[in-house]
């Protein structure tokens, strides 16, 4: 069941950091949007409610899920629920990081049960573990999102890499990104630091 939560001590000062440049946005910058503008776009019917993420001010369309990804997402939920408790999980839900970032991680372990977040959206400071499932999105998950989550202070970030069938574990967030990266094959297992007694078999997270 759920372990004692460990919030990051301080939030890195987002405003003072240089922007994370999306691939090729330096050469061809796109219109930048804020979360507030996206809300207005939705109200005006100019943006769908789901199916996109706001990353560094750009509205990124989410890739089609595909049966393999759906299968893997559900396996992850099952494995995390066994360790943390189902009530602490959210999946494919938006996670506001700051004014110009609102990703939708595949799975998130929250500090409190979902009931606590009925009126307040959880932010990165409420996240104990964040998981993305990566195939075609691998490169951006390893770069853009990795830095974004690290800057937000998410203490641990996993990429379930279904292209290479490994689990990538990122720890020690810093403004530059995570300073620790561990790659575990499908025969290995992982102990989430937010649940130090538990072990998850990497094979249980992969297709």
């Amino acid at each position: 069941m759920a372990q004692t939560m460990e919030r990051p001590v301080t939030q890195p000062p987002m405003q003072t950091l240089p922007p994370i440049i999306l691939p090729d946005s330096a050469a061809m910058p796109r219109k930048q949007w804020t979360r507030a503008e996206c809300k207005k776009l939705i109200e005006c019917g100019l943006l769908e409610e789901t199916g996109w993420e706001l990353i560094e001010g750009e509205i990124i369309r989410k890739m089609g899920q595909g049966r393999r990804r759906i299968f893997v997402c559900m396996r992850i939920i099952k494995a995390l629920a066994a360790v943390f408790g189902f009530d602490f999980l959210q999946s494919q839900s938006s996670l506001p990081v700051n004014d110009i970032n609102e990703p939708e991680p595949d799975a998130v372990v929250l500090a409190e049960t979902l009931e606590h977040y009925l009126d307040v959206e959880p932010g990165p400071e409420d996240v104990r573990l964040l998981v993305e499932v990566s195939d075609s999105t691998l490169r951006t998950d390893q770069t853009v999102k990795m830095r974004l989550y690290a800057r937000g202070g998410v203490p641990e970030y996993w990429i379930v890499n279904i292209r290479e069938l490994v689990l990538e574990v990122y720890r020690q967030p810093s403004p530059e990104g995570y300073t620790e990266k561990i790659i575990i094959g499908k025969d290995g297992s992982i102990t989430p630091p937010a649940a130090s007694q538990a072990q998850i078999k990497v094979g249980d997270l992969l297709p």
């Binding site: 691939p23 100019l46 509205i59 990124i60 999105t137």
Partner: protein, 217 residues
């Protein structure tokens, strides 16, 4: 003096829906917009400084022409073309509604109709464009092939790129669905005559910044 380009603007790879993919939108696909939606965004005040942007392959792209050589060259082209075609027929950085998801803004365009007609008919269709001119500096190369292809596909009879770093004018004619069939470069010391005014002549050097100002930005 004219020299052949090694190759014309290549036809970009298109998706099943006929869209070209802007740099890296293959791995991080951006939200796509239509020109109608962009006009709604402007009406709602959600596209502030809308002249900063143009709609290219469904993406709202920052034109990024906040550098002095670009501004300078654009105004030189404007001056040269309005001397030939008259003030009412030359537009600067104004959109052309090429297709639902493409409304690029040529830096300068020569139009068939007088400017005030567009107050009534709205954004011009490509059939109104006699000549589209883009200013190219080092940062603006990635969209050139896509724009050139779209101008050609839409039947715009002539397209010029005033290439600042290479100090030449690149000229494209004979629009076809696969891109312009005819092209040439005109060096700095050459003259160019628009198809729409073959008797007129413009010295390419008159469009470029002084060579001594090359490094400015």
């Amino acid at each position: 003096m004219t020299v052949s380009l090694e190759r014309p603007l290549p036809k970009p790879a298109l998706t099943k829906k006929g869209m070209a993919v802007l740099p890296d939108s293959a791995t991080m696909p951006r939200k796509l917009w239509t020109w109608d939606e962009c006009r709604q965004l402007m009406d709602l005040g959600l596209l502030e400084e809308s002249s900063r942007y143009e709609l290219l392959e469904g993406e709202i792209v920052d034109k990024m022409w906040f550098n002095e050589p670009h501004v300078y060259v654009t105004s030189r082209i404007h001056r040269a073309l309005l001397a030939i075609f008259g003030f009412d027929h030359v537009r600067v950085a104004a959109p052309v509604a090429l297709a639902p998801r493409n409304a690029p803004e040529p830096d300068v365009a020569v139009m068939t109709r007088a400017a005030e007609e567009y107050l009534y008919i709205g954004t011009p269709p490509p059939s109104d464009v006699r000549l589209a001119v883009e200013v190219a500096d080092a940062t603006l190369s990635s969209d050139r092939a896509i724009k050139g292809f779209r101008y050609s596909e839409a039947g715009i009879p002539e397209y010029w790129i005033v290439n600042i770093p290479q100090r030449q004018l690149e000229l494209f004619r004979q629009p076809a669905p696969d891109g312009y069939a005819e092209w040439q470069t005109v060096a700095e010391d050459g003259l160019v005559s628009p198809l729409a005014a073959p008797e007129a002549q413009i010295a390419v050097a008159d469009l470029l910044p002084l060579a001594s100002a090359k490094g400015a930005s």
